[in-house]
């Protein structure tokens, strides 16, 4: 247990061992571990970024969906409005057409009535003349009295 010259080889061995361990083991291993650390950090950052992007995309998709819904609702509302307008318009048209037809019919009727009256009137005159001719056969002059009767007929 004395201190001996063993000291010298032991010191050399120690120094060489430190050198070798640094060269062979510590250097490559710690380098590799650093690289791994970096890779993991990068991976985590990329994952974080991806997550963020996904969130953004989701948000955007929601916005788009919302817009689309709003638009479709607008379109539907417009269509409904338009359809009711069309219905109203067609109702209006129908009513006007009906009125027109009724008016035309009435005018026709009036015209026919007037025609019938005219016919009646003209016929009445001849009937009355014929009746009067039969009653007053001999003494009445057909020409003089037909004028008088025509005037009478005009008063009807």
């Amino acid at each position: 247990m004395n201190i001996t010259a063993t000291l010298i080889p032991q010191m050399i061995a120690f120094i060489l061992l430190i050198w070798f361990i640094n060269k062979v083991m510590w250097g490559p291993l710690s380098e590799m571990m650093e690289a791994r650390q970096k890779r993991i950090a990068d991976g985590l950052a990329a994952a974080e970024k991806g997550k963020h992007e996904q969130e953004m995309a989701e948000k955007r998709a929601k916005e788009v969906l919302h817009d689309a819904k709003k638009q479709s609702a607008e379109i539907i509302a417009q269509a409904q409005k338009r359809s009711s307008e069309i219905v109203e318009e067609s109702k209006e048209n129908a009513r006007a057409e009906g009125e027109r037809i009724v008016n035309a019919a009435q005018a026709e009727i009036e015209r026919e009535v007037a025609q019938a009256k005219e016919q009646l009137r003209s016929q009445l005159a001849s009937v009355a003349v014929a009746g009067a001719e039969k009653i007053l056969k001999k003494e009445i002059d057909a020409n003089t009295h037909s004028n008088m009767l025509n005037e009478l007929a005009a008063k009807i």
Binding site: T6, L7, A13, N22, P28, L29, S30, R39
Partner: protein, 270 residues
């Protein structure tokens, strides 16, 4: 057990186990077993490191690589926690100290008579397989650390700064002679305490193993079988488990103190 040694007293047994396989005389003694085993363990470390780095996988580390990375990260964490500033040498050095000292300490857990017995078959009279129970090993390591402490003190503080530390620390400028003595003692205590702590712990640990081994030596066969044999096994196992803790702790302490001392050398003021 000292069965292969023939007739030996307890004292002879212990002395035999505490003698290195050596060549040379006096100071110029080379403890071949110490050198051989520590170098072998160092080579084991280097080849293990080569094997790990050759097959290393960046993405999914396998079982052994995981284990090595765990130790590496542990050491790195210690250095990060205790060492101020940056120095690329400190961390690999700390790793080397931790693993090498642990491996050398671990030799203590191998049954103490096994390797001397095997050595005796090859005609080697003495063999001491725990390099850290040789003061030369622990002192060699602490002297390297000491040299680095001085080197970094000079590098970081400059020659003037280092001298100033001796002159004006710890009591200020009015106690220069006291300061010189105090600082010199403080600085010299660093390598000495490092070396002696490790050596003392491991030496004492080995001695306890020897004493436990001697327990059943001198008694009769039946007494040995019934009482001392089991007792020896239990004591040995208990001390083994406890010592496993001690060797790890001592390796850790050596590493941490090295980091701390070198860290102190890197800071301008204490």
């Amino acid at each position: 057990m000292a069965a292969s040694e023939g007739e030996m007293t307890s004292v002879e047994y212990i002395q035999h186990h505490l003698t290195n396989l050596h060549v040379g005389e006096g100071f110029w003694t080379f403890n071949l077993d110490t050198i051989f085993i520590s170098v072998a363990l160092g080579l084991l470390m280097i080849f293990t490191g080569m094997k790990v780095t050759k097959n290393m996988a960046t993405d999914v580390p396998g079982g052994f690589q995981n284990f090595v990375e765990m130790i590496l990260e542990f050491v790195q964490g210690q250095v990060k926690d205790t060492f101020p500033g940056k120095n690329a040498l400190i961390a690999p050095m700390a790793l080397t100290i931790f693993v090498w000292v642990w491996l050398m300490n671990f030799m203590d857990l191998i049954p103490i008579d096994l390797f001397p017995l095997i050595a005796s078959w090859f005609g080697l009279g003495y063999l001491k397989i725990v390099p850290t129970t040789d003061l030369s090993t622990t002192l060699a390591m602490s002297l390297v650390v000491f040299a680095l402490i001085i080197y970094y003190n000079l590098k970081v503080k400059g020659v003037g700064g280092y001298l100033k530390m001796f002159l004006f620390h710890p009591f200020g400028k009015f106690f220069v002679p006291v300061n010189v003595v105090m600082t010199a003692i403080e600085e010299l205590a660093k390598p000495l305490s490092l070396a002696l702590r490790l050596f003392g712990n491991l030496f004492a640990g080995e001695l306890v193993f020897l004493l436990i081994a001697l327990l059943a030596g001198g008694v009769g066969f039946s007494a040995m079988l019934l009482i001392f044999g089991p007792l020896q096994v239990i004591l040995d196992l208990a001390w083994l488990i406890f010592h496993l803790l001690v060797i790890t702790l001592q390796a850790f302490i050596f590493m941490v103190l090295t980091i701390v001392y070198l860290g102190m050398a890197h800071t301008e003021d204490h």
